[in-house]
């Protein structure tokens, strides 16, 4: 097992500076202009993603901005680009970055409508771009929870990348500390699980209102998750 070296911003900058002007080489029949064997694997990967027209980087994306911004890593994505678990130093940096960017909603964490939460938890629609674009104008983006979690014990198709959340609320109740914890996890799980594969739903993905519905689905005593 090895931990992949973290790609620092400095490496990206120096790689692209050295390669400026050669953006098109992979589209030519020859790559003699740029010697890819002189780059580290990390530099080459960064170069391939951002400078070889391999992706439709200029496309507008649903959260605003362009697909290029999606492909440029933020701090947590860069720190977590590794195989296996982060070492303790990396884990500490990830937790710190996650805590620094977390915001509790104004007026405290509220539970919404578990029925809306059920729909959101099942839906895998939203934010996909490329040969086919999800249209948020015609259909609300979903939360994908079932892709990774068991939730309602009666639901038979669910993913197993995350732990089962069946009866999650029944076991924990709904006092303020539980609400705060679950909001923190759904919004940015790296605060507790550094480099987890669970997405940061509070980062340009779900609205606070949608998060309140999904949380109700998990925690409301009436929700099928807790029956």
């Amino acid at each position: 097992m090895f931990n992949r070296r973290i790609l620092t911003a400095a490496v990206v900058v120096s790689a692209s500076a050295a390669l400026a002007g050669c953006d098109q080489f992979f589209q030519d029949t020859s790559d003699r202009e740029v010697d890819i064997t002189q780059m580290s694997p990390e530099e080459l990967a960064e170069y391939l993603v951002l400078e070889t027209n391999s992706f439709r980087l200029d496309q507008d994306v649903q959260e605003g901005g362009t697909a290029r911004e999606r492909m440029q890593q933020d701090e947590i994505q860069a720190l977590c680009s590794l195989e296996g678990s982060p070492n303790s130093e990396t884990a500490g940096q990830v937790v710190a970055a996650a805590r620094a960017s977390y915001e509790r909603p104004d007026g405290g964490v509220q539970l919404g409508d578990w029925r809306r939460g059920a729909e959101l938890a099942r839906s895998g629609y939203g934010y996909r771009v490329g040969h086919n674009n999800d249209d948020h104008g015609t259909r609300e983006p979903g939360a994908n929870c079932y892709a990774c979690h068991q939730m309602d014990p009666a639901e038979t198709t669910y993913g197993t990348i995350g732990p089962s959340l069946a009866n999650y609320g029944r076991e924990r109740g709904t006092d303020e500390s539980v609400l705060n914890y679950v909001h923190e996890v759904v919004s940015n799980p790296h605060q507790y699980f550094p480099c987890t594969y669970m997405p940061r739903f509070g980062r340009n993905f779900l609205t606070e209102e949608q998060i309140s519905h999904v949380m109700a689905y998990l925690l409301d005593p009436e929700s099928p998750v807790n029956q």
Partner: protein
């Protein structure tokens, strides 16, 4: 890093001197699959669809072979030429074992090319097609020339062990960049490939996912072209990459581009030593 693959060699081939070409010979795709199933009785991924295992001898992808063969030998395009002078890495017109030894570095273009890139290159250079001709612009679906040719050519390597060359420094560079890409997180959901293919027996909804570090699962995972029952069409490696990247909420990937090549260099290497199932049948 891939010692695991070497231990598994006896499944399909006599062990050769490390670093030499694969020793395998052609095998029917269904025979290859059956041996993998026997070798990995506990793999949830390999055993997930009894229906597909049963249908394998009548894999609808096999229906593309005749058309693919005809297209390969027919004089076509503005230059009225066949593809017999196309070099997939083992010499002009040599198809046996060529598919499992890609991507590779090609002297004539100065770059590492994956199979589809090379096929399109030949159709343009030899036959004179341009990007606008449907013969090369249509990449997907059983009705496309590209998928028929791909299925025919790949089939000539069925049962051969994956053995993409790494002797040229550019081949090694692309493979290593592909490894970084496999673990590189990004996009609207922070995913890398390992999020879904890093652990054994994990599921996304109803699909059991192949684990990249289990080369006997991974050889099936990368065995494309394959008929996808759920889509009722034969699909390519590149189509699979496009699908996963789309689900990952990264930017849309474009055909004939080096990110495809790097990912395929890495994933074919991760299946090294295991026999390819060509064509395969998938969910």
């Amino acid at each position: 890093m891939f010692k695991k693959a070497l231990l598994a060699l006896p499944v399909a081939m006599a062990v050769g001197v490390a670093g030499t070409a694969a020793q395998a010979e052609w095998q029917d795709p269904n025979d290859v699959l059956q041996k993998l199933l026997e070798a990995q009785p506990d793999s949830k991924y390999l055993h997930q669809s009894e229906m597909n295992i049963m249908m394998m001898p009548d894999n609808p992808a096999l229906y593309l072979l005749d058309d693919g063969e005809e297209l390969f030998y027919k004089e076509r395009g503005p230059n009225n030429a066949s593809l017999e002078s196309c070099d997939f890495g083992k010499g002009e017109g040599v198809l046996e074992g060529a598919y499992v030894e890609l991507p590779r570095y090609f002297e004539d273009t100065g770059k590492v090319m994956d199979f589809e890139m090379r096929l399109v290159h030949c159709m343009k250079e030899i036959q004179g097609f341009t990007s606008d001709d449907s013969a090369v612009s249509q990449r997907h679906g059983s009705g496309s020339d590209i998928m028929r040719l791909t299925t025919y050519i790949a089939h000539q390597s069925s049962g051969y062990a994956w053995n993409p060359p790494l002797d040229h420094p550019k081949e090694q560079a692309m493979r290593d960049a592909g490894e970084v890409l496999f673990f590189r997180r990004g996009g609207a959901m922070d995913f890398n490939c390992a999020a879904c293919h890093g652990d054994s027996g994990k599921q996304i909804r109803a699909s059991v996912l192949p684990e990249m570090r289990n080369s006997q699962e991974w050889t099936k995972a990368v065995s494309w072209p394959a008929h996808r029952a759920g889509q009722d069409n034969v699909r390519s490696q590149n189509h699979r990459i496009r699908g996963c990247i789309w689900q990952m909420r990264h930017a849309g990937i474009l055909p004939d581009t080096p990110v495809n090549t790097a990912l395929i260099s890495y994933w074919n290497d991760a299946a090294r030593g295991e026999p390819a199932i060509l064509p395969d049948l998938k969910r």
